[in-house]
Symmetry: C3
Subunit: 266 residues, 3 copies
């Protein structure tokens, strides 16, 4: 049986996550549940998608990924079940699915089941848990809803490239203060064609001229750039910013959305 | 086998929660444990009770709810096991049980087992885990202690009503900044008798004249009132406070204990 | 099968912990995983060791303790597997093992397996998970690497004693603001030989002349000293600092590293 992963913006100080787990275990005693994170910034679909996109392939095929961020149903965001590479994603189709997947989904279904009760404010608890448990039990999607074509597109900002440069963005600052960018290793190779490069943060102020393979390739307290396990260009400080334990984000005053420029030299 | 739920004020940065889980698995390898929350405000029995009261019914019958807030035994707060609607609650009877249950318990037992060792500062770990595992295994409460009558009463502040109004209170502010009140849907119906109403926050300043069924019934950034899945009147902002992601609590400067007034109009 | 415990400084807002759990379940579907804490201060090997040292014996023999703090491999910190009292500890040997164990390990192995891929920045995910799963399955350490002698020594600051006093240190401040010291009960007994004593915090300012067995031996809001379940001298405030819920640390302005003096009187 697959794993149920659960991502939300419910926080950790309330009982909401536990309510969902209780409902899962009540329906499927042998379920295994893994929290991705419940500290997604409130209502931040993109942040939820980032985490799920980065993590889902570590779970076995047959896993169900429950998305508890902006999960309210509306005409613009119907409850859907999306199949992709042997994984299921369950939530409201507010664009989150398109941000998770890197190509077209294998199948999409409108969820067409009744709620458990007449309370419509917590669809994860009163509707989507039921869908997730059905799928984990090996049930077919067809029982749950009607197959539809396509998902709502939500276009993320993407790197802008020309023959000699990539203008990317910081898409996440992790708990270490590491900067994760939207510059993929494949894009870097495609545009770079093996040439030398300069990675510039804050436009002109900070330069990195060499990619590393370990965080500790730089001296402790020095900046290091590498492609992380998700294939994304990441800028970090080996061992954290000196004296603070913090990271490159606080040291350089950088935040989500800021530009990262890669210039290739002949 | 039921689930073991665990609620505490131990926080998430220490090993205390893990110690308890290790002790559970050592005694009962097949246990399933769900954290309700470990971020209860330190020593806040009422907050612990609020979460457990709201969540316990989502778990299957036979579940044991371990209460790790003010769990020290004393003459005024003996260790007890309370049976209610097929669920067990285990902790120190400092009033927490009466705040969790909405009617008399089915049975109450004084816990009468020895500690695992002579360390008396961590009874959850060295005594109550043993009780919980015994119950999860299907053991009878009689083995654990002596049946007693009644539990310690802790009277929460309750709404004050007259023929045309309910004067309730904010009993919790959740991680979204949503305001949860002690005004139940049944009380609202009983006093309201289908009449129009005005919900007033901060006494006169903020009015809501319509209950919603979804958070997004209001426009994004606007206040919405609804009865939540726990049957309690809740005031929220659809999508959080504009620009902050925060909620109605920070926007209106409201906090736990503040009044919420419902006035019914003929 | 033993439990996999997992300790890291990954925080709770990222997907890193979930990635590791997904990889574990993919290799070992029946694994049971317990988080010790993921809120270790970034790169703080000593803090990670403190938590693991305090908690590991609550888990059944055969458990594997995965250490995700400073887990990068280097010549000075090779990936190792350490066997001790029927438990396994897996991480980079940066001194953390010597801080966890209170005597020589039973066996030490250099981990000698290939990574899952050519990404070297996340060895917990791409290498150490494989080691942990092998051990949990009951596999022998010999398959994983070469037996070596000894581990890297990291000498913690220890109490300084003379015939009539112990000069210890605060080694941890927990989420309650309780002060945990490096003064063990056995050292206290050895030096104290049953004599009266004064425990001094902040050198001369605050005195405690009696050890307690419960937090509530002191009146609410008053300071209490006791030997905790880990056998360490701990100073707390019964019920937290008045009005704040905080603890003795904030009340007295004490922090990790500060001195605690015990003077014995004839």
């Amino acid at each position: 049986m697959g794993i149920l992963t659960f991502t939300s913006d419910y926080g950790l100080s309330d009982h909401y996550v536990a309510a969902v787990k209780g409902a899962v275990y009540s329906q499927l005693p042998e379920a295994r549940i893994v929290d991705v994170t419940h500290l997604v910034s409130p209502f931040d679909t993109k942040e939820a998608a980032y985490h799920i996109r980065q993590v889902f392939r570590y779970f076995p095929k047959g896993s169900v990924h429950l998305i508890g961020v902006n999960a309210d149903h509306s005409d613009k965001a119907p409850h859907r079940l999306v199949a992709f590479e042997g994984h299921y994603f369950v939530g409201a189709d507010n664009g989150v699915f398109s941000l998770i997947l890197d190509r077209e989904p294998d199948a999409v279904y409108d969820i067409n089941l009744p709620y458990d009760n007449d309370i419509l404010t917590f669809p994860v608890l009163h509707l989507l848990v039921k869908v997730a448990c059905h799928l984990l039990r090996g049930g077919t999607p067809e029982v749950i809803g009607r197959k539809v074509e396509g998902i709502k597109r939500s276009e993320p900002v993407r790197p802008i490239t020309d023959a000699d440069s990539i203008r990317g963005h910081i898409i996440h600052v992790d708990a270490f203060g590491n900067l994760i960018t939207d510059i993929t290793q494949s894009l870097f190779r495609e545009i770079g064609r093996g040439r030398a490069y300069t990675i510039r943060l804050r436009l002109e102020k900070h330069h990195i001229k060499e990619l590393s393979t370990h965080y500790h390739d730089a001296e402790e307290g020095r900046t290091v750039a590498l492609f992380n396990t998700g294939g994304l260009l990441e800028v970090a400080i080996n061992g954290g910013a000196p004296g603070s334990g913090g990271g490159v984000a606080s040291l350089l005053g950088l935040t989500k959305g800021d530009l990262v420029l890669v210039v290739f030299h002949d």
